[in-house]
């Protein structure tokens, strides 16, 4: 059983029977002594606590003080030797020759401390200490070095990717320029250059998309510039999203395009008009844009040529109606082989319509 917290840490070393063996008037001193010695090392406190009761009982206070001094002396050079000395000393005090204990302590202390002149060990220890201090001071620099290494490796990978896309752009541009209508080439190159300067990968997407937008006349050159400008803002914020913008793969890109487009694009209604003309004329009719005029005969028997954009009206519905009128006109030419028409050619129809709409014919 040990004492509780009332006697501080001493309770950890002093068992009740140990304390009971100490004369009552000296118990306070006993506990203080154990406490003091245990501050050097826990194990010393344990051993001294065991030995002190018999010393306090059989020896005068001077002898007890001498015991504690000798234990401290040896423990100062090596605590394990101190524990052994604390254990053996009380028996040596019982010897008739008092010098035995003195000699014993000196021998153990000297043996533990080693030669006083071991300067090499001290130097090595000093050097090691200095090195460790230096290394500790360098730790932030080492961390920074690692950060820089990984940063540079990432940039290297990015640059490699950039160079790869630049090569792809170099291969892609000439055929695109050959397909692009000549008047759009200068503004086209200007726009692609702007995007390429920021991100060659995005410029590959922009190169394709701008070709379609300009050749299909879905936007004017000014509209294309605005579309690219808005895309560059997106690209600055997020590369991946920006690339999606330039491939028309984002809702925002389409929304911007919708804001910028002028009129109704033929491409968006070409199939409906084709079916309309085919139904009206009874012949398989193709719809072509005037931008294809170099390749097609305007009065070909199998196609109707229409402007690539219809911009007569503000809204798409009325622009579609304009397309529809032009398509019906073209379908008539295909069905009857001519644009020439005179009311005198259809007297029966004129008569029917006069009957049906008497006010208009007046």
């Amino acid at each position: 059983m040990t004492f509780g917290p009332a006697v501080g840490n001493v309770g950890m070393y002093v068992a009740r029977e140990m304390l009971a063996a100490v004369p009552e008037e000296r118990r306070g001193a006993y506990l203080r002594m154990v406490e003091e010695i245990s501050e050097l090392k826990y194990q010393l406190g344990v051993e001294v606590a065991r030995q002190l009761p018999r010393l306090l009982a059989d020896h005068p206070p001077e002898q007890v003080a001498r015991y504690l001094d000798q234990v401290r002396e040896v423990a100062a050079v090596g605590w394990k030797s101190g524990v052994e000395v604390a254990k053996q000393l009380p028996d040596l005090y019982e010897a008739p020759d008092e010098r035995l204990a003195e000699a014993y302590v000196e021998i153990v202390a000297d043996a533990t401390a080693g030669p006083a002149e071991d300067t090499e060990t001290a130097e090595l220890a000093a050097e090691l200490g200095a090195l460790e201090r230096e290394l500790k001071e360098m730790e932030p620099k080492v961390r920074r070095r690692d950060e820089l290494k990984s940063l540079l490796a990432a940039r290297d990978r990015r640059d490699e990717k950039r160079r790869k896309h630049a090569v792809e752009l170099a291969a892609a541009l000439p055929p695109i320029l050959a397909r692009l209508r000549p008047r759009y080439r200068p503004p086209y190159l200007h726009q692609v250059r702007q995007v390429a300067a920021v991100d060659p990968e995005a410029s590959l997407e922009a190169a394709d998309t701008l070709l379609d937008l300009l050749n299909g006349e879905r936007v004017s050159a000014e509209g294309a510039a605005e579309w690219v400008s808005r895309g560059l803002e997106v690209l600055e914020r997020n590369r991946e999203v920006g690339r999606g913008y330039f491939r028309l793969g984002s809702k925002y890109a389409l929304q911007v395009l919708d804001e910028l487009k002028e009129g109704l694009a033929l491409k968006s209604v070409a199939r409906v008009l084709k079916l309309y003309a085919t139904a009206l004329s009874g012949q398989d009719v193709a719809i072509r844009g005037t931008n294809e005029m170099e390749a097609v005969d305007f009065f070909g028997p199998e196609h109707i040529v229409l402007p690539p954009e219809m911009r007569f009206f503000e809204d798409d519905d009325r622009n579609f109606t304009a397309y529809k009128v032009a398509t019906a006109h073209g379908a008539g030419r295909i069905e009857f082989g001519t644009y020439r028409f005179q009311l005198a050619d259809v007297p029966e129809l004129v008569g029917t319509l006069r009957t049906r709409y008497p006010e208009s014919s007046a």
Partner: protein, 270 residues
């Protein structure tokens, strides 16, 4: 025992079905009937094949048993089968057997949709034997002189896998059907839908234009039947554009661009 087969009187037409002859199909059909020759009607959906058969059945005063063929239709469905009724197993004649026994007209609509084993059943009825073997009963029914077998199919949308074999085709007198000429179609619309001349003319004009889109994305043109529906809706006060969209445009295609072009065609008339 053979009990409670379909009552043949259920198949007798009591009123004359309206049919406007477009060529010599009536004479051809009557000659085939009197010559006991089976008839095959070919033509697009909704052009009047079924109405023609109904008209001829009434005209010849025969009962008419019509079977709409489908991919699960078997020879047993046509000929008959044993069914459980209480503790008894009873035989029930199929529609083909009913028609044969009664000397009526059996009309197998869209025959190519039925399973192949059905052709085994109809072959003996289509040559000079004119018999219907009922294998499950071990019986052979001899068709009376008044019996006539008619089949129909639509060559327009049959695939290679779903076509009639030549050994079947070459057992029938074939009568071709197509959409009626404009004047006739107008007459049909006025009669069937009760609409005025102008509306009928417009519907026929729309149909003519829409039919030009066959092979351009439409499997079939708009049928006369759908034009009649359009006319009936207009006759009941539905706004013509809405009536035409519901009957001429939406039933024949799900392609939105095709629908839009058809709406524009309709808009040229209404």
């Amino acid at each position: 025992m053979a009990v409670e087969s379909q009552r043949i009187e259920d198949f007798r037409l009591t009123e004359e079905p309206y049919y406007l002859p477009l060529g010599n199909e009536v004479e051809l059909f009557e000659a085939a009937y009197h010559g006991r020759l089976p008839v095959m009607l070919k033509g697009p959906t909704g052009c009047g094949k079924t109405r023609f058969v109904e008209h001829m059945a009434w005209r010849l005063k025969r009962t008419l048993v019509t079977v709409a063929c489908h991919e699960d239709l078997t020879a047993s469905d046509l000929v008959g089968k044993y069914t459980l009724r209480g503790d008894e197993t009873v035989w029930q004649d199929g529609p083909l057997t009913t028609a044969v026994k009664a000397g009526g007209i059996a009309y197998l609509d869209e025959i190519v949709e039925a399973r192949k084993d059905t052709t085994v059943v109809i072959h003996p009825l289509t040559d000079d034997r004119r018999i219907l073997p009922i294998e499950k009963k071990g019986e052979v029914v001899q068709a009376p002189g008044e019996f006539l077998l008619i089949i129909s199919y639509n060559p327009g949308y049959q695939s290679v896998l779903k076509d009639l074999k030549h050994s079947t085709k070459q057992r029938f007198v074939a009568i071709d059907f197509d959409y009626p000429p404009p004047d006739a179609e107008e007459t049909i619309l006025k009669t069937e839908a009760g609409i005025d001349d102008d509306t009928a003319a417009k519907l026929v004009k729309i149909a003519e234009k829409v039919r030009n889109l066959r092979t351009h994305g439409l499997e079939e043109g708009v049928s006369t039947r759908l034009l009649v529906y359009a006319g009936q809706l207009i006759g009941r006060g539905v706004e013509p554009m809405a009536a035409c969209e519901a009957t001429i445009c939406k039933p024949i295609t799900d392609d939105l661009e095709m629908q839009r072009s058809i709406v524009e065609i309709i808009a040229t008339q209404f």
